[in-house]
Symmetry: C2
Subunit: 208 residues, 2 copies
DNA sequence: TGAGTAAGTTACTCGCGGTAGGTTACTGAC
DNA sequence: GTCAGTAACCTACCGCGAGTAACTTACTCA
């Protein structure tokens, strides 16, 4: 049965067969969107399946579980973030410039992916097995980048200080990015400027 | 029926009736522990009820829902954290000392409550309605404290810088505290020192 | 043109959050 | 004492959503 009411075919692009790769991408796009709208817990696999125009077992066929689907979405975002920040920093020359470009790239990325990313950073609790782990992995990836900059920036700093400062900067960026969500008056450049200023001199410039 | 096997009474303290207040406290203690062990999702209300020596509807009677129970646990932790940091800072005189004592109190608190707190900070995603909100509320409370210090510390800093720096510091503390969980060699004092150093001078001391 | 396979489906099970409605035991008034 | 009132507590159930088994449809290529 191709059409119940002959003559009227309201959705010709839907319900078409897709290759696995194509379907997987579509599923991840939709899942990201639904997770963002409803939060992890509020999202049901049935709804994602329905929006994909496909039945639930297909999701399980391709992603194994709800967690697996979330993990796949996160993996994609992680790769994108890494690529964006990495490339931004590669185009710089001085350490100052590296830091600045990295920060701008980071805040811009969060800005354009704000919804999904806010979820990723805020929702590790879904309590799934590996989700928090995956986010930690993303952080580690970004930490490597930052630690590298620090070693260039401050070659004489002891390793433990570099490690601690790396965590401090990662946490600071994350929080500031999340905070910006509720404070649109703070532009990407403002955020980046505050971060770089603070990294370089701390509160010193404001002390009497 | 008081005892199935006469003469043997293996658990006299269990199964006794308790007042509502007493029972609530016990439930929260146990819930905190089980949430910590299994994570939010991995925890079932049946298990908490069983460990309390009580049946599930009692939990619902007192806390309304699983989220409600978590929220109650979080509320308690939040109040404790505030009290501890608040008091520590009240005993100081110079701004430097305020910052130092606040940090030491914060890292010590996380240290002694590390398990439950790691969960609180990492698991906001359970996607419940208000859990993430409650954590945000805790952060706001701590932010007030920090912003106050900053205004004393650096009275000439513009308000937007103070606001941004507050977020930066909150995020940095959080991340460093979480990171410490996997790096026991970093003592509370080390962490506090790195934080206060970074806050005051940033990377400047290490630049050539 | 039909064997093989990849895409897709229906129709279930099961665990867990949540609830309706009833029972047990403590308290205080007469 | 004893009995009304209430607070603590229980058994037995519901529904929803994650996950699965077993089957069907449609493309592809020798």
């Amino acid at each position: 049965m191709k059409a119940a009411t002959p003559g009227a075919d309201p959705e010709p692009p839907r319900r078409r067969r897709m290759s696995r790769a194509e379907r997987e991408r579509q599923m991840m796009d939709i899942a990201e969107q639904v997770f963002t709208e409803r939060g992890y817990r509020g999202t049901s696999m049935d709804e994602i399946a329905e929006r994909c125009g496909v039945s639930k077992p297909m999701l399980y066929e391709y992603f194994g579980s709800k967690d697996g689907l979330l993990l796949a979405c996160m993996g994609r975002a992680k790769a994108e973030l890494y690529e964006v920040t990495q490339k931004a920093m590669a185009g710089a020359s001085t350490p100052d410039d590296i830091l600045w470009r990295g920060m701008v790239a980071y805040f811009s990325f969060i800005d354009s992916h704000s919804r999904p990313f806010a979820m990723l950073l805020q929702e590790p609790l879904s309590g799934p097995p590996k989700t928090a782990e995956a986010i930690e992995e993303t952080r580690r990836q970004q930490s490597e980048l930052i630690a590298g900059v620090l070693r260039t920036f401050a070659p004489d700093a002891p390793a433990t200080a570099v490690a601690a400062y790396t965590q401090i900067i990662v946490g600071a960026c994350e929080r500031l990015a999340l905070w910006r969500a509720g404070h649109p008056e703070l532009t990407v450049e403002d955020a980046a400027r505050h971060m770089t200023d603070f990294c370089r001199h701390g509160l010193a410039p404001y002390l009497k």
